[in-house]
Symmetry: C2
Subunit: 275 residues, 2 copies
């Protein structure tokens, strides 16, 4: 089954546009879990158990595992095993390299780790992303307009000529073309930019959009959902990491995470219903 269909199935089953970010930082864990990298699996397992009927996707960010070296990567592999394809896993690895290297990464992420999708930088162009796109049942979410303030440094630059549009709109149009060829592209657009998100949705009416940046980063949830949904009121994965996984820090942290996830999911669904 194609990634888009697995995502649609999870969205329908859990009535959810919520992507839960699994970004473990042991320093922020509840004390009773200890401070060893093995705590990551125990932490993630409880978060997953508490949210798997509320999420349409999980998004582990590779950086929070690489921080602990090989032990962290082991914990990531075990986390994927726990999720066991009940909902899709989007590995936020922000890949982007030359072709032969991307082939190696793709073997690691799509075969060894067996995740459903990855995020990718567009700066090196299509040939470095193709080795991932060739896995027909997986997906690649390409960075278009990211949630951070520094996204203006490069992404907002105005292009010359007939284009006369900012770089991120051009990238969105490129991804639209790449998707026409491969059929398994998605986009990444920060919730912090609802105006830009609406423009990008115009350029790519049918592509799934990963929307990080609500919560700690300050994005407006309702505005992002309104600007991002496709004509069916779906097609977005709104990610929250810290706002969910660190909602509590006592022994009942997983219950707190569940409450936070449910509240976010329901707020998003209210926007969809009112639309």
């Amino acid at each position: 089954m194609r990634f888009a269909n697995r995502l649609k199935a999870a969205t329908a089953r859990n009535n959810s546009l919520l992507c839960v970010g699994l970004d473990p930082d042991i320093r922020r864990f509840p004390k009773h879990l200890g401070s060893d990298p093995s705590a990551i699996v125990a932490f993630n397992r409880q978060i997953i158990d508490a949210t798997i009927d509320l999420a349409c996707c999980y998004k582990p960010n590779l950086g929070f595992y690489m921080a602990y070296g090989a032990a962290g990567l082991e914990a990531l592999a075990e986390t994927c095993t726990i999720i066991d394809h009940q909902v899709p896993v989007l590995l936020d690895a922000k890949v982007g390299d030359i072709n032969t290297t991307s082939e190696a990464y793709a073997r690691g992420y799509f075969e060894e780790l067996d995740v459903d999708a990855v995020t990718a930088h567009p700066y090196m162009g299509l040939d470095g992303i193709e080795p991932f796109l060739k896995y027909e049942d997986r997906a690649v979410f390409i960075l278009v307009k990211t949630s951070n303030p520094g996204s203006k440094d490069v992404q907002d630059l105005e292009l010359a000529g007939a284009e006369a549009r900012p770089l991120y709109e051009h990238v969105a149009a490129q991804v639209h073309e790449w998707n026409a060829r491969y059929g398994n592209c998605g986009l990444v657009v920060g919730a912090t930019w609802p105006g830009e998100l609406a423009a990008i949705r115009q350029i790519c009416p049918d592509l799934p959009i990963l929307i990080p940046g609500v919560g700690t980063q300050g994005g407006d949830l309702e505005a992002a959902v309104q600007a991002g949904v496709d004509t069916q009121g779906a097609g977005i994965l709104v990610n929250s990491s810290r706002g969910i996984i660190y909602a509590g820090n006592g022994e009942d942290f997983a219950r707190a995470a569940r409450r936070a996830a449910m509240a976010l999911r329901d707020r998003m669904n209210a926007v969809r219903t009112n639309a």
Copy 2:
């Protein structure tokens, strides 16, 4: 000691602008090493022993380790231990994320793995690169014009306004500014674009430039050295991976690698002498 000084010391000691790419692909290893991920360390150890007096830097590309999951990352850590800071290690990880995530990656790469430098994507802007730049004794090599054909897709786009230059030149100018603030930036420019490399050297007269793309990728070694060197005839790290590490595939593969490394080093030095 700053990275730039460690690099200069290695360049002077080994009379070398050669960066050896450690990109293990077990399928291409000499048969006698076996086909287990543990073969990576045995392979790298022999390549390192055979080239450590000829290289100014080693560049492991993370993708070729991630292909083997946690076992691959263990092999990378052990490879760094073998090199033991005798010459700098530039981890080709092509990082680029939001600030808090980059802090996590930086702990993993600069503290756990303890490499001397990383490569980075510019697409997300300065704030995602700063957590790496804050390690004063490490360096960040930012992608400007990459060696692959697809680099034209985004990097060559012409900017509007007073700029009227391609994106990659703008990025080079940005890196020049970032370096004025932090002092530990470098650039990545493919050997496949000697004209662009010369223009970028004009924009950043003093920054170290990593130059991949000679050998298999077809870059012209002499043209790249000529276009890339700074006014002191140095300041470049010309990378070769497959051309060196797979120069032979028998039991004497390390000797073949040494011969290939020496030939490349000497060809580069001949260009410097004639300049």
